[in-house]
Symmetry: C2
Subunit: 436 residues, 2 copies
């Protein structure tokens, strides 16, 4: 491990990310777009003999498999921690009642946002390509939702409290469960040729149980423990005025819980960010008292830019330079990905609440569009499963899916922030971490 | 990169480190000792088939060379960032005048603290082993000082402002320059058989120039720029009462500067922590205004425990189990390392200020004892240089040096905190990051 190289790369990426973010925010575009574009540039700029990716020791992914450099691995971990801490802070601002109050709408948005994209993605590849497994994995990748991107827009605009935000966050949690079930079915079929119902059931029940148990702990158990501890402290002080209750550093405790829950979520098959989001909810009632938001803000400021840069780093332009025809398919897939999520989720919202204004429906529809890293993970899984001697997902299909994931991630935030600021004008404010 | 594995290891190490730190602090021993011991346990515990180091994907260093696991590399980077941020916060509390006011004492402490350990270390190996290069590298390793450990004790006890602390920090900076010059001479001789005076001069001048330039910027340039900017803002507001000056996030800027300076220090041959310490000094005058200490506190809380755990992770007990005779040499070296630094630095302080109380002299002497990772880096370099077909430093000698570095790191803090709290009783307080 060449520490100097790692320090140089971290410093360069961190500084450029913050400059890019500030520059884009000044133009009225969400800062994260600047960070994603920076990531794309970092891995694709070669001027004469100067290869920026080599200089920074970050190598892009080539479609046939990953090639890691040392520093690339560090950036990947930082990126993962960045989005984990980001979703933790979203959890800190979300009480259980915030989710249950929008439960029906969130569920319908998630369900329709899974069904419509899957069917359309499956159908499109069946018609144009014909391969069954390509179609299945394209469907599964279309289903994915990466709530990290939307969460950052919502947080940057300080709109965590509005109903649309709640519905999107709630729907994203449910969407992740549904997406995981779809993936379990699809990859199970690719591996064994049939649906392993028992396995799918186990996977589903575990994931749902995990989410419900954490919500139960957050809503019922934690308040009881907290009140008990406070009561005991008060009693003790009543009897002995000199008693000093032992101090605990809640920041350290919540950091530990955040990491553990991110890991546990991964173990039960969910995204790590669902785990950290739920972990944040455990502390939501007292986050203010313990200054957790402020403290996580500092740590998140350091890590989160690496996430958005890393998203961009996954784009390998060269595949499309070599096979321009691929671009046509990719563009169609991007359009389908945007339209199906928007229509599916919008429909779900309208079914749940027929009187919802179109401005709210649009916000929810657009907020669910980004596929981010979740779609890429699905595609990666597809390239790893071998069916009859060939990967279940071809490298061309993989490249298209990656482009779709990146494109949806870039397209949604500016539209979302426009829609939000149209509806909630005065609350718009650039967040600190977006600033240089 | 298996993200789940990394998350699990980070979570386990972070939580155990904080528990260990709290437990030791409760017993009145500096919390960092708990973290170092945890690190030793992590890489050495094997219960039946259960190898904790394998479970956490961290593999210890074996004396013949490093064997890295993926997660080990992540922990190494976190550890490096931890001590970099720690020294940055020390820099935030250090003004240029704080250093120049103790300049003479710091310089003499550093010089004597280099001469005495080098001569004694060189002489001991010449007598017992006879190999010239072994003696040279042992001398160079004895010279090293790792200010990270002492800095944490000082910060934990909130004694940054006392004179002894200033002298130790100043001496550590000078010591690092001198140590680097010694290392340049020693490794140059091992590589070419003679002293390359030109190279040694270039190395020395570069390092000294780097430190002086940064101090000049901190002391003269920054105050001028700051006053200029404030003046311009005031003028502008006077002419246009509606003018809102552009806000800059000083936390983001200082974070970037911290990383860049850590890298630059490495480039000129100094320790990265000297760079981040100097970077912190650039912001010292306005750290309070920009809430930098508070914000770096959060980020440091996350990273710094990994540093002390990582120090412990470098101890491979098995070498000494296999060759118990080595332990005798190692113990003698440890004793010599402690005594020579204590006597050398104490002597330096006494020469500079003959009327200094013995309690102050002792604090300075003990504060300079820890060799930490700096000594290990010297030893690693020695094993990497091949002289006449064999490494300039044998693997047995390497193991002894590593043990010496760890032992001095563990021995000094409890004594230092005792000496400090005897002299400055009422100021002792357990720091937040030490708490669970």
């Amino acid at each position: 491990m060449e520490i100097a190289q790692v320090l140089l790369s971290l410093a360069v990426i961190f500084i450029l990310a913050k400059v890019a973010s500030r520059a884009f925010a000044k133009l009225g575009v969400p800062g994260l777009i600047g960070e994603i574009i920076l990531g794309i540039l970092l891995v694709n700029i070669v001027i004469g003999d100067f290869d920026l990716a080599k200089f920074l020791d970050i190598k892009c992914i080539d479609p046939s498999g990953r090639v890691y450099q040392e520093t690339h691995g560090i950036i990947e971990v930082f990126s993962e921690l960045g989005v984990i801490f980001l979703l933790f802070t979203v959890g800190l601002e979300t009480k259980v009642s915030d989710l249950t109050s929008v439960g029906k709408a969130a569920a319908l948005v998630a369900i329709m946002g899974v069904i419509v994209p899957f069917i359309v993605g499956f159908a499109f590849i069946t018609i144009t390509d014909g391969d069954f497994y390509h179609s299945m994995f394209m469907g599964a990748a279309m289903v994915a939702t990466s709530v990290g991107i939307t969460a950052r827009v919502i947080k940057d605009m300080k709109l965590m409290d509005v109903k649309e935000s709640r519905i999107i966050i709630g729907a994203a949690v449910i969407d992740d469960i549904l997406g995981m079930i779809v993936l379990a079915i699809v990859s199970g079929m690719a591996k064994t040729g049939e649906i392993d119902i028992v396995n799918v059931l186990i996977v589903s029940v575990t994931a749902i149980a995990f989410v419900l148990v954490v919500l139960l702990i957050a809503g019922k158990v934690i308040p009881k423990i907290y009140n008990n501890v406070q009561q005991k402290k008060a009693d003790r002080i009543l009897h002995d005025p000199n008693y000093i209750p032992p101090g605990y550093n809640m920041f350290v405790i919540s950091l530990g819980v955040c990491l553990v829950f991110a890991y546990l979520a991964d173990v039960v098959g969910l995204a790590t960010i669902i785990g950290s989001f739920l972990a944040g909810m455990l502390f939501a009632d007292h986050a203010w008292e313990w200054k957790l938001e402020e403290k996580f803000e500092s740590i998140s400021t350091f890590f989160v830019s690496f996430f958005f840069v890393y998203v961009g780093m996954n784009v390998d332009i060269s595949v499309f330079v070599e096979q321009p025809a691929l671009l046509v398919t990719a563009v169609i897939i991007i359009v389908l990905a945007c339209v199906t999520k928007f229509v599916g989720c919008g429909l779900g919202a309208k079914i749940a609440e027929p009187h919802m204004e179109m401005s709210s429906v649009s916000i929810i529809g657009v907020g669910m569009i980004p596929r981010g890293e979740v779609g890429i993970i699905v595609a990666l899984l597809g390239t790893g499963i071998i069916v009859a001697g060939v990967p279940a997902l071809s490298s061309e299909m993989y490249a298209s899916i990656v482009l779709m994931c990146i494109a949806t991630t870039i397209i949604a935030p500016p539209i979302l922030s426009k829609l939000f600021s149209k509806k909630y004008k005065p609350m718009y404010e650039i967040r600190d971490s977006d600033r240089l």
